[in-house]
């Protein structure tokens, strides 16, 4: 993709930001104001993460930075220097069977963010000792499912030990 077309013109000198993306070392040369979401989508071609609102409300751009789910529309890319970034592209189809059969996805625009939060919950089941699943998933807005398909799918995947 034509990365620079999507980016601010470089009024400041670019900075080099090395990080690990889905297990691979990458280095990008970017304007200090560039958002992680834009780096992923337009510079690195990882279009799975979506922009739903651009202000950290909807969660469609959720990725993991050092194992914490974040809204990538709110993170300047320089903040992930030397960090581990994990996106929806790292998810294997065999890992989302429960979400598929429960009806967790309809239009699919919120889905990558939902899956990244679901994976995080699955990898940290201790969260369920202090929070309900509905609380943990509340950072990902969905307008299609009414959430039951999502909650059922995450619960089922927790039971089955798959994300």
């Amino acid at each position: 993709m034509d990365a620079d077309a999507n980016m601010p013109p470089m009024s400041r000198p670019p900075i080099e930001v090395p990080f690990t993306l889905n297990g691979m070392e990458v280095t990008v040369s970017i304007d200090p104001a560039e958002r992680l979401l834009d780096t992923l989508r337009y510079r690195l071609g990882m279009t799975g993460s979506k922009e739903g609102c651009g202000e950290g409300e909807c969660g469609a751009c959720t990725v993991h930075v050092d194992d914490i789910p974040v809204n990538s529309c709110l993170i300047p890319t320089y903040q992930v220097r030397n960090a581990q970034v994990r996106t929806i592209e790292s998810i294997d189809p065999s890992d989302v069977g429960a979400l598929l059969s429960s009806g967790a996805t309809q239009c699919g625009a919120c889905t990558p963010g939902v899956v990244m939060t679901a994976v995080w919950v699955r990898e940290h089941p201790e969260l369920l000792e202090t929070h309900t699943l509905r609380e943990l998933m509340a950072g990902n807005l969905c307008r299609c499912t009414g959430y039951d398909g999502i909650i059922d799918g995450v619960r089922r995947s927790l039971d089955e030990g798959q994300p």
């Binding site: 980016m7 279009t47 609102c53 202000e55 309809q106 919120c110 299609c144 499912t145 039951d148």
Partner: protein
């Protein structure tokens, strides 16, 4: 069968319009009106920008007619001399850098010589506010059955009420977007949309090209709910104008703020009821006045009003009904299609009013409905005789039983009498929703579908109906598999590309499964299909294509001039029950349980059908409790998800869904349309529950904390 495209969505592999790479692409943006009404006196390009780097388009660049053709032609594609709403498109700008075009657009100043706007659709316009016809009415529709005036005189009691609903934003998670480019003399427009042939017709008119030289292609669409029914034509043609002038591909992707500020919303409504009942609590007269805020142009308001008035008297039998409807012009951005299409507004009024009547005459709300629900052989407001065999009273009783309606009322009484700050209530709504286009709409659409045998033996389904999350791909695949004994991998659903597919009509009005799906089922390609197809292709050098065309169910008659007869081929029927809890410390209402019981004919796919109901209910919970557009001078002020509040997973309970299956003889395997039905019932059920919980009389939604505070202080 799991959702066909489900894995692609769950792994982020699905490509939406903003995900498509395109070489040499420009970013387009829209210059919009800063004022709600007036003469455009100038478009000034700031001196700090080198405009030679930009492609700029205004109304002079439109090759054909300056209109977004829909029902009428009054809405310009780019306003030339006059604007009728704030945010109305005036010019377009494109550049290779998205950031450059964002900056440049801020350096363009549009000046307007203002005329007096009108924003209150319930107020009589002054002479200088009139902009359409003699009175600003975009459309009027009257329905008359029996003699309402005489029946009101004879009635034992007459109960009046006035009910309001606000505008609602769709909040499809994928914002609107389009790309356009020219390829061998053919203009290709691709994007997020529900109705490819609507866009094609609008393109032919505005671009002055024949339909062989324009192709409209749908990209996977991240939610629509009606919001991508008409407005995509506008964006598609904007992208096309820029692409033609630039001679390069152009992409226009709205961000959330622009999408919420500029595109359509649900019509606000004011509905007045005057209802006569006899001494036995039976309806003898329903006199109903429906007003909708249409916004600045006609767009789809006539048909939204049509569905609204047809549903206004509810699923009840009454011999004397008068419904007067009007959609009024205001200088707000045009209100448009939104799941339910006018019916949620009129059902809200009617079902809240049923509780008000029941309270007035001293009958339980459920018993009052039981006495009045249509039984087979009785007629609707348009005189349509219902003979489908659905027991609507049993359906209501099933919903009451599932929700422990009566037991909970007792529990709530004791809780409400003793709890320091929590109040609970339970409420219901009985309602119906006509499936498919209204009246003769389906006959006029004359939908056509093709099934093609591919050389490798697979079957390709060619239709204009699109996937936007509701499950078209899966349902069509399943129907073909069931019909021909094939496996899903042997079925291909063609892209909705007007260059390839026949016009099977728009993806709206809960019609895709019932009407177009039936065409899949009707296509007779025979058994042992795969081998036969391969044999065919081996023997001949020609494609194998089966055709199916819509045939109306027998005996359906509709008179458009008198608004009488069979308004829809069939209806979905439902009773919903909501339990709410109001916190007197925070003035917030929360839905704590929800039961949705409906007859949508045969359920073709349990997971998809349940998902449609649950999603529709939660969207309606938002409309009922939190979703409020704050308007100022015709501009939405809270055009962001930070302060336009839709429900999260933690704001809603599990939605308990139950289907009562009564097959519809003319749907595929007996299925009826279901997508819009769940939008109709939740708001009145919730308002009725709130009324009980706090012993007040809400007459409007959304029931935000501010509104609840008023109710608790004043009772109204």
């Amino acid at each position: 069968m799991d959702r066909i495209e489900g894995l692609a969505k769950l792994t982020g592999a699905e490509r939406y319009v903003d995900d498509l790479p395109l070489d040499g692409m420009l970013w387009g943006m829209t210059v919009r009106s800063p004022a709600p009404r007036g003469r455009v006196t100038g478009v000034h390009f700031g001196s700090g920008v080198d405009w030679s780097e930009f492609v700029v388009v205004d109304h002079h660049d439109i090759p054909g007619d300056n209109t977004v053709l829909l029902i009428e032609t009054d809405q310009p594609l780019l306003a030339g001399e006059y604007v009728r709403h704030a945010e109305e498109p005036i010019a377009l700008v494109a550049h290779r850098s998205r950031e450059m075009v964002r900056r440049a657009i801020r350096e363009i100043e549009v000046t307007i010589d203002p005329d007096p706007p009108i924003f209150d659709f319930t107020a009589e316009p002054t002479q200088d506010q009139i902009q359409h016809g003699s009175d600003n009415a975009l459309k009027r529709i009257d329905i008359t059955k029996g003699d309402v005036d005489a029946a009101l005189v004879r009635a034992a009691r007459v109960v009046e009420g006035e009910y309001r609903t606000g505008s609602q934003e769709h909040v499809y998670l994928e914002n609107q977007g389009m790309i356009a480019w020219e390829e061998d003399g053919v203009l290709v427009i691709k994007g997020s949309l529900q109705c490819p042939f609507y866009v094609l017709k609008a393109a032919v008119r505005a671009l002055g090209r024949d339909s062989d030289h324009v192709r409209i292609v749908q990209t996977p669409t991240g939610g629509g709910f009606g919001g991508k029914e008409e407005y995509p034509s506008m964006i598609a043609l904007h992208a096309a104008l820029l692409a033609l002038k630039a001679e390069q591909p152009v992409r226009i992707i709205y961000d959330r703020g622009e999408d919420m500020r500029a595109t359509t919303k649900r019509h606000p409504s004011l509905v007045r009821h005057r209802t006569g009942v006899d001494g036995d609590g039976r309806l003898v007269a329903q006199d109903i006045d429906v007003a909708l805020d249409g916004g600045a142009y006609v767009t789809l308001s006539p048909v939204v009003l049509s569905r609204g008035v047809i549903h206004a008297a509810g699923p009840y039998a009454c011999d004397n009904v008068r419904i007067r409807g009007r959609a009024m012009l205001t200088n707000s951005p045009p209100h448009g299609a939104f799941r339910g299409f006018g019916a949620p507004q009129t059902h809200f009024a009617n079902e809240r009013h049923m509780d008000v009547i029941a309270a007035t005459i001293g009958i339980d709300p459920d018993e009052f409905r039981r006495r009045n629900l249509i039984v087979d052989g009785q007629t609707t407001a348009t005189g349509q005789r219902i003979t489908d065999g659905t027991d609507r009273v049993a359906l209501l009783d099933h919903a009451l039983e599932l929700s422990s309606y009566h037991e909970r009322q007792d529990k709530h009484r004791s809780l409400n009498a003793s709890h320091p700050y929590l109040r609970r209530g339970i409420g219901l709504a009985a309602f119906h929703h006509g499936a498919g286009f209204t009246g003769s709409g389906e006959v006029m659409l004359a939908s056509e579908l093709h099934l093609a045998g591919l050389p490798d033996g697979r079957i390709e389904v060619l239709s204009a109906n699109i996937e936007m999350g509701q499950g078209t791909l899966t349902v069509f695949t399943k129907l073909v598999c069931d019909r021909l004994g094939l496996r899903p991998e042997h079925v291909v659903i063609a892209d909705a590309d007007t260059g390839r597919v026949p016009d099977s009509g728009p993806t709206v009005a809960s019609r895709t499964t019932m009407v177009v799906g039936r065409l899949v089922d009707d296509s007779d390609t025979g058994d042992r299909v795969t081998q036969a197809i391969i044999d065919w292709h081996v023997e001949r050098d020609e494609p194998l294509v089966g055709h199916a065309k819509y045939e109306p169910p027998p005996g359906i008659e509709w008179d458009e001039t008198t608004y009488t007869g069979d308004a829809y081929a069939t209806y979905g029927w439902a009773t919903y029950v909501a339990e709410v809890e109001v916190d007197l410390r925070t003035y917030t209402a929360r839905v704590t349980d929800f039961v949705a019981v409906q007859d949508v004919g045969t359920v073709l796919h349990e997971t998809l059908a349940r998902g449609q109901i649950q999603g529709g209910v939660v969207q309606a919970i938002g409309w009922a409790l939190t979703e409020e557009c704050a308007w100022s001078n015709g501009v939405m002020q809270n055009n962001q998800l930070t302060n336009y509040i839709i429900p999260t997973s933690d704001d809603v309970p599990p939605i308990r869904v139950s289907f009562v299956e009564n097959p519809f003889a003319h749907g595929p395997h007996g299925a009826k349309g279901l997508g819009e039905l769940p939008m109709d019932g939740p708001a009145p059920a919730i308002a009725n529950a709130v009324a009980r919980a706090i012993d007040a009389d809400p007459r409007a939604i959304p029931l935000t904390p501010e509104h609840l505070m008023d109710l608790l202080s004043n009772g109204r």
